[in-house]
């Protein structure tokens, strides 16, 4: 079973929910936690431990000058400007390349060869018994987050229970994370900003066709608008985490409330049960 944790808005508590859920589940079963927020992965702060790195590469063109006739077909084809066909050579801009492979297909001379270029890595660790942490890490200055997310998800593939912690927003990296999930936990906060972005995220999971439930984090007890929205959209509210100094203090130290505060392990176990019910598949 695969559960994605997403939000739309940043800072609502996706990683908090993902980490505490993983911590709770690891007490009784094998669980893989995948950090898909590859531009700023931070789940390792909750689960420190030594990791093994696997590089992530993406294919980019290399021109064979012996075969190239400077016909210009590759440069005309590339909509990202990764190839400039000049008078005496073809200039390749690897960081502009989106790895579509089109240049090697249109080249009439077979002068374009694809070579791997490292854009990031996936760090794998086993920080606590029964928990595998897989963190995708995109190198600075790179744009192909989905490729690193894909690699991180692939390395977790085969685990019977996988949690995907998404990045904020609703663009390509989030879509890539949601792909193939059986259920999605949408984490929101009871502010106009949280609700605004929850609407966007709810629309995305609905379009992709992933059943979802909502966690209201930092609740001040006045969540009527959020609850009303969830009711309208048929999204069950499956957990409410109160706005509390005690919780914030644990969180700010990089601690897990499921491990350190009484009651939370049971509540996160309940969150898992509710998510399983939403997914409608056997865990």
């Amino acid at each position: 079973m695969k559960i994605a944790i997403a939000s739309g808005k940043g800072g609502t508590g996706k990683s908090t929910v993902a980490a505490n859920l993983a911590c709770t589940l690891s007490r009784t079963r094998e669980v893989a936690l995948v950090d898909c927020d590859v531009e700023e992965p931070n789940l390792h702060l909750f689960f420190p431990g030594s990791a093994v790195d696997v590089p992530v590469t993406t294919p980019v063109p290399e021109i064979d000058p012996a075969r190239c006739t400077l016909c210009g077909e590759c440069g005309k084809f590339c909509r990202f400007g990764a190839l400039s066909v000049l008078k005496d050579r073809v200039l390749v801009f690897p960081h502009l390349c989106h790895s579509c492979g089109g240049c090697s297909l249109v080249c009439p001379q077979g002068a374009v060869r694809e070579v791997p270029r490292t854009i990031g890595r996936v760090a794998c660790s086993c920080p606590v018994p029964r928990l595998t942490l897989v963190s995708g890490i995109l190198n600075e200055g790179e744009v192909q987050a989905p490729a690193v997310i894909r690699a991180a998800k692939m390395l977790a593939q085969g685990h019977p229970l996988i949690l995907y912690d998404a990045s904020p927003g609703i663009a390509c990296p989030v879509i890539e994370t949601l792909e193939g999930s059986d259920a999605c936990i949408l984490v929101t906060e009871s502010t106009p900003f949280g609700l605004h972005d929850l609407r966007l995220a709810a629309e995305v999971v609905e379009r992709i066709g992933i059943p979802a439930g909502v966690v209201i984090n930092r609740s001040d007890g006045k969540d009527e608008e959020t609850i009303e929205f969830c009711r309208e959209r048929g999204l069950p509210v499956i957990m409410t985490i109160p706005f509390s100094r005690e919780i914030a203090a644990v969180q700010n130290r990089g601690g897990l409330i499921a491990a350190l505060l009484p009651g939370w392990e049971e509540w996160f176990a309940g969150l898992f049960e509710a998510t399983v019910k939403i997914a409608g598949v056997s865990p």
């Binding site: 400007g81 400039s84 200039l91």
Partner: protein, 113 residues
């Protein structure tokens, strides 16, 4: 020699455009014959990577010098590799005005490397 100038419209009376890859038009002037050719920029609304692709257009038209406001890093690299010199024109005049300044040797070269 052929000089390419970034412009807001076609013809040598058009105002010079400061942006390189996002300029609506390129005007190529043959300094020997005075003949000018205006080319609509197909990359105005392109997603990205317009700098190097624009250099390719200049290269195809045989330009050995560019007059524009400024160029980005990728465009500079492609211009350098293509042996095309770039000159800065920051005035509000026409393509013809910029060309006159260039011919008089008043334009500063843009750093490319």
């Amino acid at each position: 020699m052929i000089v390419g100038i970034t412009a807001r419209a076609a013809g040598t009376d058009a105002p010079v455009e400061q942006r390189f890859g996002r300029a609506p038009y390129f005007v190529f002037v043959d300094t020997e014959t005075g003949k000018a050719e205006s080319v609509e920029n197909p990359l105005v609304d392109a997603a990205g990577g317009v700098g190097p692709r624009t250099v390719q257009i200049f290269s195809e038209h045989g330009a050995t010098a560019v007059i524009t406001g400024q160029v980005g890093g990728n465009a500079a690299k492609a211009l350098e590799a293509g042996g095309i010199k770039a000159y800065a024109y920051r005035g509000s005049g026409s393509v013809a005005d910029a060309l006159a300044e260039y011919t008089a040797g008043n334009l500063q070269p843009l750093p490319l490397a």
